[in-house]
Amino acid sequence: MNGPGDQPPDAPDAPDAPAENGAEIPVGQGKRLHPLTPWRRAWAPLAGLFAVALQNAAEVRDQAEGAGLGWLLLGVAVLVLGATAYGYLSWRVTRYLVTDTELRIRTGLLFRRTAHLRLDRIQAIDISRPLLARAFGVAKLKMDVVGSGSADELAFLAEREATELRAELLARAAGIAPEAASSAGEAPARELHQVDARMLGWSLALLGSGWGALLGALLVTPLIWLATDSVLPALAVLLPLLAAIWRGSLGAFLTQYGWTVSESPDGLRLDHGLLQRDHATVPPGRVQAVKIVEPLLWRPRGWLRVQLDVAGEGNVGGLLLPVATRETVRALLGRILPEVDLDQTLGAVNPAPRRARWAVPVWRVGYGHGVTDAVFVARRGRLRRTHILVPHAKVQSVRLTQGPWERRLRLASIHVDQGAGGTATARLQDATYATDEVARQAERSRLGRRTAAPDRWLTARPAGGAG
């Protein structure tokens, strides 16, 4: 490995460069990140130093008096320079290149690493704009790739560049001819639905979890304070509770504010956030399961929350809609799973047999299972009723389990595993029915796969078919 000291490691005229990088990023090709990027890198060590200095303030002062302020300032200056140089050099060596089949990202000053992301394996590309980055007009591009597990990211790019690159990558991933891809620009998006801020606020207020945490904080903290007679344990309990309250109320409101779902040829786009704008694209062909959640207090209003399981790391919490009416969900669901009708699907669910109450007394009512032509549906939960829909074509394996008590009651559970790592479980079904159902489900998913649309969804549809 070349040291960074003697020559810039990415110097295009380095004699060994072509041989070394020929297969990766050819000399003189590839683009750099935004010039502001090094400051993000230089910022971290400085902040660390500052934190250390703050913690040992007294010692630092003694040292400063002993050694003279000049030396201290010199030390800091050297550190700042070093950090800046490191940031600059690592920015110089970081390049990315889009080829017909891959996105290559080269990083690393000392340990060079080139990531090859196969375009046809890209699940989703998200643009994230943290608050500070928004002020500077830059954005982060996150790629979800099957099999890589971790999300590779390009941080930072100019906002316009990020949007263009995302459009190009998605267009290529969707199967548009490579020549046309770069000129295609960002595919036009059509807004389908925007979540009303009032409705979002009400829906969060009607969730039990935030209130539960608040109640816990109000009851438990004084008790602990009284019992232990010291503030620290009470604080130790209070802080996580406060975090939970924040996440359930204002924090959720801030991230879910202005939740917009729009449709474009490369998938469904999600834009959301009040302070930090986030942007995600969900390719419809890669949705493995749809989760429809109905909290208790939402049901009289007919409100639903929709979550998606996408292979790879999905968007934040896999949320498609934080809250929506039934009509909206019905319309949107058709965009993701075209053959699925919401009412018909939820209506196909049969509750667990009555004798299951001996296995799960009160909550038995929540368990249910149904099958339509397109999806396997499992229902659970009594207060927070959840339906999980797995398209037959996405089923990876089917399992049947039966414990001793279930066997006594002639019950069994059906598990359907899907590709995003989740499992839809239909618990407490009649044993003979479940045995037959497992065989039938295996058959259905085999047939479903044959008729399923190919992964390159754009080529599968005629132009304009998305509209």
Binding site: V398, Q402, Q441, R446
Partner: protein, 170 residues
């Protein structure tokens, strides 16, 4: 008394009636019983010998529960071994196992991402190999322990071949 003796295919629990169900090798039972003895034997020995040496002979009775557990394990392992079976069908592989907690796993060939045959040193001594199937779902949990190495390889090749022929995207 072993009353749960049942041949392949005549399972009492969840299952699909078919006469092509195959059992796993008897070597697994020997291997597991050996491991059981290796774990519990020394424990029982220490429990029986140490208290008299320390002058409290009555505590030697502690060895009895250990021995009882060993005896029960001896029997339970046989029961569990008998419950394992697998069935190759035209389009999917079925694995059935468990006595108290029964499980039947169905993996369509087209969904297999990877078929893996492993064999540790002890398993090799007993002439055994373990076949593990991976799909895109982490929860799939489909493995067959205790195949004869030749059978494991045959199965691996066949599954890979069928998997390629029937593979589908995510």
């Amino acid at each position: 008394m072993d009353t749960v003796v049942r041949g392949p295919g005549s399972g009492g629990g969840p299952g699909v009636a078919d006469d092509r169900w195959r059992p796993i090798e008897a070597g697994v039972l020997s291997l597991r019983r050996l491991l059981l003895v290796c774990w519990l034997g020394p424990l029982a020995l220490v429990g029986a010998v140490l208290p008299p040496l320390l002058g409290a002979p009555l505590w030697a009775l502690l060895a009895l529960p250990v021995l009882a557990a060993g005896g029960w394990g001896w029997w339970a392992l046989a029961r569990n071994w008998r419950s394992w079976r697998y069935l190759e069908r035209d389009d999917d592989l079925l694995i059935s196992r468990g006595v108290l907690w029964q499980q039947l796993t169905v993996v369509p060939y087209g969904r297999m991402q990877l078929v893996e045959v492993t064999s540790g040193p002890l398993e090799r001594r007993f002439g055994l190999a373990r076949l593990q199937l991976h799909t895109a779902a982490a929860a799939t949990d489909a493995a067959i322990p205790g195949l004869a190495p030749a059978e494991a390889e045959r199965l691996r090749d066949r599954l890979t071949e069928l998997g390629e022929a029937r593979s589908a995207g995510l």
